[in-house]
Every structure is written in C-alpha cells, then in structure tokens.
Symmetry: C2
Subunit: 607 residues, 2 copies
C-alpha cells in the first residue's frame, strides 16, 4: 500500500518552485518541436537544417547549392549532414546558433523567412544529444580571407547554454558556407516523406540545387531557375497590429516628439496619418513619446487602431512564389490536363502582412480515385505533418466543391491536386514544430477566396471539355452513317461511291491524308480541316523513284530495295497540299506533327 | 519601387543574431498559449488560474473553496479575480510564480498535476500587460502566524524576469490562500463556453466548491463530495522511458555504485532487476555510476530498455476520477436512459504512466439528432478547444460505432455523450495551450479499447431495450383481443362477461387495482402482477364513511363533504390485498408508489 501522503505547506512547496530552462522544457515536450518519434525526427532535422541553409543563402544573395547526406551508423543511429554555400557564421556566434534554443537573427525582424523562432536547429542538436549522447559537429567559413572553424557542440539542458567540446581552426574547400553533422536515433521508415519534402521544397525553391545522398542512393534536385530570390526586406510594425504593451516598450525607447516618433517607428504612417492619430488621441505632436503617461499611451493605442492607415506593403517584406513558377513546378511533375494558379493580393491579420497563393491541377498523372492530393506550404517550406489540424485543410473542406463539378466527401475527391502557400512575416503555426497553420479568420478568408477562384477556373475547363466531348461524339455519330448514306445515294443515282473522307475530315476537324495511284502517277494530298496551322513532316517509304517527285523532297535516303523521302509542310487551317511522283504506289506513308486522333490517312490504293 | 537589397555578409548577419527571451517568444506567438483572441483570452485566463488553485489545494490536502469574479471595466477591459484557500505562496517566490514564464514546482516531478509547465498563469500576466498595459495584483498568505502580502507584478518581456511595482504587508481575512486580479482586453462572447468549462471542472472535481460572480450573475458549483483528493505522489523515472542524454545527467549527479544507483534512481527497479540490467550491459555492480564512459552509458541505456521491468505503478502517481464519480456527475446533469463508465488499468508511453477513463451516456436530456457530445479531459482539466486536432477525437471517429448499433458520420451521431479522461504524469499536448492531446499510439490504443468496451455495454442495453419493447408490443396486441375473446366465449356458454383485468395485469406485468360496490359494501383490491415488491400508498376520497374501513386507514382527514383516507401497503410480487367499507362507492381512488405505465385501475362501479 502507498504510504500516507503528508499535505504540503507553503514552505515545503516553495522549496520545489524553481526556474525551468527552455531546453528542459522542450526536452520534456519534444513532440512540440516535431521530435515525437525517431521516424519523424529525421524529417524534422533535415527540414530545419535545409530551411536554415536556404534562408542563409537568400540573405547573402547566393544561389543555394546544398548537400544533404543521410548515413546509417551503428544500430539505429543515423548521421545527417547538411552543407550549404551561404555566407557562413562568425565563429563567436556558432555555439549559440546551434547550442541555445531561442537564439537567432530573424525573430526580431518583420519579414518573411523560413526560420523565425531560433529553435529548430538547436532542437535537433538537443534531440541528438538526448538519443545518441553525441555532440553536433559544425564547420563554417565566412570568406576567402578567413579560416574555417570546426566545433563540437552540445547544449547544457539545465541552463540552455551551449557547451563547446571542441573548437579549432581548420581547412575547408568551401570559401563560404556551413556544414553540420548530427547523429541521433532514427529510422528510415519515413523515407518516402523525406523525398517528398525535398521534392516539394525544390518545387517552391526553383533557384536551389539540392544534392542528396540517401543511405547509398544519390538523388539530384536541380535548379530550374538561375535567378536568385530577392530576399524580402524587414519593415516597421504596422499601427493596426500594435498592442498597448508593445507600444509602451517602443515609446519608452524613443527620444523623438510624438509626430516624428509615429512616422519613424511605424509602417505606412506619414505626416498626414500621424496628425490624424494624434488628433484622435487628443495628444500634442511635440510631446516626447517617452514621457507619455499610461493613460495617454492607452489613448494613443486606441487612436492608432481607429485611424485610417493603408495596409502594410506585402510586396516589400513578402516573397510569394508567383503563379508562373508554381504552375511550371507542378506541371513538370504531374502533366495535368488542366492547371491554374493564383497569387492573391497582400492582406493583413493582427497587423502581420500575408499573401495566399494557391493552385489547382486536374487529371494528368493524378490518381482518378480517392481524396484530392493536398500540398501545403508556409514561407516556401512544405508542411509535411498534421494535415488534419491545419486551417488550410479546414478551408478546403468547407468549400462546396460540388458547385465546381468536383465530387466531395469532406475533402474534394477525384484526380485533383491543391497547392496552398501562405507567406507571412509571422506565420501563425499551431505549434513550434511548424506543421499546421492556426485558424485565423483573416487567413482563412483569403485561402477560401483563392480556392473558390480556382474552383471556377476548373469548372470552366471541365464544362468546355465536356462540351467538346459532346461535339465530338455527335460528329462521330454522323460520320458513322455517312458511308451508308453515300452508298444509298450512289445506288439510287447509279454512280460509283464517292470518297467521303474529306467530309469526315471536315466534320471531325482533322487532317486528311489521301494516297491515290492512277495511270502510274502517285498523288499524296493533305487537307488541314483542323482549326489550327500545322507543321507537318511527311515520310514516304517506297521502291518507287522519289528523286523526281514534285515538289522535291528535303531529304532522300536510298536504301535497298526501298527509298525514303521526307517533306516538311506548313499548312494553315483549311489549306491543302499535294505531292506527285511516278511509280506503282507501293510502300507506306507516315505523317508527323499532328495528334494521332486528329489524323485520317486514307490509302485509296489499298481500300 | 523597393530599393535594391544589399546581400548580407556573415558579419552583418552576426549583428542581428541574438537571444530571444521566452517571454518575447510567447508574446509574439501568444496563440500557442491559448491567447489567440480576446474572446478566448478570458477562458484561458480563468482556466489557468483555477487549475493552479485546484493544484495548490490538493497539494495542501485542503477541500478547495474557490471564488471567481469576472467584472466588466471601462471599454473592453475585463477584470478576472480568482481566490483560493490553498496553502499560499511564500512572498519571495510570488514574483517568479506570476512574473516569469517557465517557473514552477511541478515540472520536475513525475506525478499527475493540472499545471506542469510553469507557463500558464504567467502567460495570462503577460497577455494582461500587453493588452491593457496593467500589472497583475497578487495577495497571498501562508498561515495564521504570517502576514499577508500584496504585490503588483509585471514581466520584463526582454528578459523574462519579474518586475515588482509594489510590495507591501497587508491584512487579509483568509488565513491561507492566494488571490489574483488580472485585467485585460476581452469580451464575454465565450460566456457559454466559460460556464461549460466551470461545469465540466465541477463534474471531475466533485470535492471542489466554486463560487462564481460572472458580470453580475452569481453561480454556485457546489461540492458533491467532502473527501479531499489524495494528491498523487511523485515517482522516480521508469527505466524504459529513459533516453541516453537523461541517463548521462542522472549518472553524473550520483555518488553510488551502479547497483545501488539503479535501485535508488529508478522506479520499479529492485536488486534482481538491477542485476539483470547490469548483466545485459556487461557492467560491474560496484563501479561508480559517475565514472561510466560514454560507451558504457550507451550500453547501460540499451540494457535498461531490454530488461524486464514491471510497468510504473499508476496508482501512486496518478489520480483517476473513478467510474462511480464519473457516472454520478454525468447522470446528475443529463438523466441518461443508460450510462456506463470505465477506468482502464494504468499503462505507459515513453516511460510515462497514464490511465484512460471513459464514459458513454445515451438518451435522457441529450438531443436525439446531430453529432455525439464529446467531453475531453486531461488530468481532471476539461479541454475546451481544438477538438478536431485531438487524438481522442481521432480515436472516437475510427471506432466502428455501427457495430454497436449507433449511427456514425465520422463521429457517432444520435443521443450519445462520450467522456474521455487521460490522466498522466506527462500529458502530451499538441501545444502549450493544452487544448488537444498529441497522437501517441500507446494512448490511442487505450482510448480505443475503452471506447469499444463502452460500445459493447451500450449495444447490450439497446438490444435489451428493443427486446423489452418487442415483448411489450406483443403483450399489448394480446390484451387488445382478450375482451373480444371473452365476449365471444360468454356468448357461447351463455354466462356474463368476466372481469378480464387480472389476465391483462398478468400478461402486462402490472399492478391491478379494482373497485367494486355490491350491496352497500365497497371493496378495493390490489394485485401485484409485477416482478418486484411494491411499497404503495392508497388514497381514497369519498363522502362514504371511511372510519370503519377494514383494515383501518393510517390517516383520515375529514373535509366537507368529502373525507380522505390513506393506506400504506407493502405488496410482494404476486401478492394481493383488499380494503372494504360501507357506502355508495362514490368519489375516487389514487395509488402511488408504482410507475403510471405499470398500473391498471379498474373502477367496476363506473365501467
């Protein structure tokens, strides 16, 4: 039996009260950082390291050239190596960047970046030392005039401070960049998801080259564009998103009179807006911001919310992917029957600018059954887990897809792919692992609007396709009875059955090729009944002599016993063309440059 | 046009790299703590304050007596006051408990508690100063021999350290306890959810009294039990859940030889298990734990996982609610037709003990249409948000409810309520706001098993109910034709139609009461055809004289012109009873003590 429990007094409880280091907190709650299982740990680690590499290259204006190596060590220990050609990290800061949670360069800046929190890569270091007991190796170099440094680092969990186990100058063949080697307990069960993460990353970062060595297999995700991304610029806070506590802090640090303070400390505030704000607050423009009483500050904050201020300029601090690149990336992969993309105008939630981009793909390599494929991105980073908990998924489910001729059971079903990218200076994730976007009404509205626009596009495509299918079916029906009609009429008027292929071609909107031999003269004629110009290549393989054909072939090859001749012909819509030569009409013809379905070849010599 | 962006060098980036205080981090990511909107802020604040109060009372072995006041101040500022009769907090620690994130007494202990992280209440203080600019007031006293102290506290966001704006000795009518007053921007839109949170809290904490003053309205959630909860005891870590990094730390702090170290530092490890572990690891029992090499430590950790160790004792460190209390709490509220509850045996995930409890209710006050009502709890705290993101909801959806005769569309539908309580020394929440439980296979398995057991219980009830309905319908059909049969037979044998009520009573298993007057003698007879003993009260209201009735009435009241008499009768199953008196048989009779549906009263004088 359990011993009786003695109630605790305040003094006894006081002895147990103490600080918790943020490293201790996340070591215990490692699932919050995406380290809930060894299987997932490898995806999270790769993601954090590659996100950092891409951010660093972008900031330095360098085209990213990233190496990822994943090696199975003894037992269930894996080593992940990530190397980039970024600007490098100065040696004094290396221990903190990798050995301290909540340390980074992007947290205090208002602009789009992949990493925001200064947690991710240190969390991987923490997870490594927890599961494998091994410190992390970092090599970094900041330029040709600087040496490379090599560190072995771990985190003192109790204090969240870095512990440097080794630091030395070293030589390195990269002029600038950073290499990290992390060893931890894991498995390759999530291999498919890992490759998917890399492919998705490559789609939305067409300027990056990622070379991968995955447990013996080499994979290259090459760059599709040689334009480096222009890194988004940091902006000042927007007045509509400033809470009282924050205003208090900014004002306390200012030496300026109120009007200047407003213009210089906030985004989109000019002279006129500043005057309006101060008027609403009943405050004098020349009063020092730092001397405001709590009451005055409260009035100022209310006035800042009420004043008309233009929304933040998303174009400056955000870096959307763009409709063209999204479509290119997707079509390369899926060869859709139809694809449409949208980049919505910049919008704002709680003062944070954001842009929603979305794309829909239909048909092609997509499976025709089952739930739609969903690709979620935040700040150009693929979101690989917790689809069900993500606001994006919620928006997709709540759109009425049946309106757009797509079946639905919660999510849309059928050969449909949806890509959604949310870019923001502060993406509201549901947890530190950055897997899912929290449910923020302003963002949900934009996602829904984008999806509805795409739905309308798809509906237009589907109804056009259905219409053209219908037309074709009707034409097919007519063509099926034409021969009978022709025969009947011939009988009645006692004439031979005419060649009905031109009529068929006309109805079906096709290219009709006809070959006929009369009195030792072979005639091959082409009639373009389609609605478009055609660039055609005609091949004739025969034992007849083609050298004297009219018009002349562009190329003749003499083989024994056959010869082949090649003609290149441009035929406008409705135009026709013919070639004649002397002979028996033996052999065969082939025409390239038009879809098989759009071509009727009639060999009258053989019919 | 945006100015051209200058690529950053490593040196420029280094200037931007700096520490992020945990308060800054959570100020920016306040949605992670449940402060995503002013509406929600009030629920989160109340929840954090009341969780703390309940934890403190439990630790001190005190029956919780909690006061909650919510007052609308000027504008959209609300004041939340929470006062408890806990042990109080010593004055030196007050600033840290309320003015520093990640400070607390329960993080480092392995036992079930509501608060675990030392974040919640300080987060509310942070949110208050951010939105209203106002510091938080705390009054606390630790006993009759101590003065009370009054503090005004806020958090220095940049450093996550408390700032004491006021500290003074004061008088207070509570001998021990703590009072907190927090003012922040909010709204009462979530009033219904707030009351729901309090009601649910009261259901799973039957020992607590919570007095509420909600913007002018008083609500009392009184205690249903006078037994204080025995606070769960802290236990040592279980060998199966220890990661290498953690083992390294524990070993470094030990002065003992290995065998003693294992027995004294881990839960469920005795001499025998220690020997087994050391044998597997190939280590000598008398080697000092602190002198182990990294390799030895790794071997030891592997051996600790492999050795057979009994699971942690959940009974010691966990405090489940219990099947009886869960059923009582629910039935009081919903008056179910059927209710069943289960407390599963203690189990373990990643070395953390946990217990799943669940209950199912059917019918009663539940709405008969729509999705089942789901009540989620973790460590006796109701989970009010993010139902969709919770592993519990996932488990409910993936059970095949149709097997248990319940319709389903994702979640089960119909008049069904499901309650699930997960109690653990470390509940794996999906975020710091503690709204949803992360998807951990071991926990999901236990939840699913509990739900399946309950489903079987419900199915048994439903099929019995259907069967008894069927039986009753059949009986009703027979009773409907009995009079006709009786009449037919009477005609044939030329006798008067007999009284068929006893037959009907027998078939329908009812109490049959018959009144008959013959020759100035009134007879009232009762026949108990039910399967149970009945305690009945017979009322007769008549102008006949009841004083000479046989047997005598227990009570007679004489009114003008009528008298009423009362008899109390215990009738075993199958037994009968009668009373006779002289008179005309006028007036009426009434019988209490048996369900209306189970009673047939035949007044032969009137038929």
């Amino acid at each position: 039996m359990a011993p009786p429990v003695k109630p605790a007094s305040a003094d006894e409880l006081a002895k147990q009260q103490r600080s918790i280091s943020v490293a201790e907190f996340f070591e215990k709650n490692k699932h919050l950082l995406g380290f809930d299982s060894p299987t997932r740990g490898i995806v999270t680690t790769v993601k954090e390291a590659i996100d950092n590499a891409l951010d660093a290259c972008e900031e330095a204006g360098v085209l990213p050239d990233i190496y990822l190596g994943i090696f199975r060590m003894e037992g269930d220990i894996f080593k992940v190596v990530v190397e980039d050609n970024g600007p490098g990290i100065v040696p004094d800061n290396i221990p903190y960047v990798f050995g301290k949670l909540l340390y980074g360069s992007r947290f205090h800046q208002i602009r789009q970046s992949r990493g925001q929190q200064g947690i991710g890569i240190s969390a991987a270091v923490l997870y490594a030392q927890l599961t494998s007991g091994r410190p992390t190796l970092v090599i970094s170099r900041c330029g040709s005039d600087r040496p490379a440094y090599r560190f072995r680092i771990q985190i003192k969990t109790e204090t969240n401070e870095p512990e440097i186990l080794e630091k030395e100058e070293t030589t390195w063949d990269r002029i600038h960049g950073t290499r990290i080697e992390i060893e931890f307990k894991s498995s390759l069960t999530a291999r498919k998801r890992l490759v998917e993460y890399l492919r998705y990353t490559s789609v939305v970062n067409p300027h990056a080259r990622i070379r991968v060595e995955l447990d013996g297999e080499a994979i290259l995700f090459d760059r599709a564009s040689d334009e480096p991304i222009i890194p988004p610029q940091a902006i000042l806070p927007h007045p509509h998103g400033v809470e009282l506590g924050e205003l208090k802090r900014i004002a306390a640090g200012s030496t300026e009179p109120l009007e200047l303070f407003l213009v210089n400390s906030f985004s989109r505030v000019g002279q006129k807006t500043a005057t309006e704000i101060l008027g609403l607050a009943g405050l004098k423009p020349n009063k020092k911001a730092s001397t405001l009483s709590p009451d005055d500050l409260a009035k100022l904050q209310v006035a800042m919310q009420q004043a008309k201020v233009p929304p933040p300029l998303g174009g400056q601090c955000l870096s959307p992917i763009g409709e063209v690149l999204i479509r290119q990336g997707l079509e390369k992969e899926y060869e859709f029957d139809f694809c449409s993309a949208r980049t919505r105008p910049a919008s704002v939630y709680h003062g944070h600018p954001f842009i929603v981009e979305a794309a829909i793909g239909y048909g092609g390599k997509l499976e025709s059954e089952g739930t739609a494929r969903i690709m979620r991105f935040a700040n150009r980073v693929p979101l690989m887990y917790q689809q069900g908990a993500c606001a994006i998924t919620g928006c997709i489910s709540s759109v009425n897809w049946k309106t757009y001729s797509i079946s639905q059971s919660g999510l849309p079903t059928g050969p449909v792919l949806l890509l959604i990218h949310v870019a923001s200076t502060n993406v509201p994730f549901t947890s530190e692992s950055k897997d899912a976007i929290a449910s923020i009404p302003d963002i949900e509205r934009e996602v829904t609007l984008a999806l509805q626009e795409l739905g309308r596009d798809l509906k237009t495509f589907l109804s056009r396709r259905d219409k053209s299918r219908q037309t074709e079916e009707r034409a097919r029906a007519i063509c099926a009875i034409i021969p009978e009609i022709a025969e009947k009429i011939s009988e009645t008027i006692e004439k031979p059955v005419p060649d009905i292929s031109p009529i068929e071609g006309q109805i079906m909107k096709r290219l009709v090729a006809k070959k006929k031999t009369e009195n030792g003269t072979v005639t091959i004629s082409l009639q373009n009944y389609t609605a478009h110009a055609l660039d055609l290549t005609l091949y004739i393989i025969t034992s007849d002599d083609l050298k004297k054909a009219e018009p002349e072939a562009v190329f003749i090859e003499e083989m024994d016993p056959d010869h082949s001749g090649v003609w290149q012909i441009r035929l406008a819509a409705g135009e026709n063309w013919r070639v004649t030569y002397q002979g028996t009409g033996n052999g065969m013809i082939d025409i390239r440059g038009v879809d098989e379905k759009k071509k009727v070849v009639v060999d009258l010599d053989r019919s």
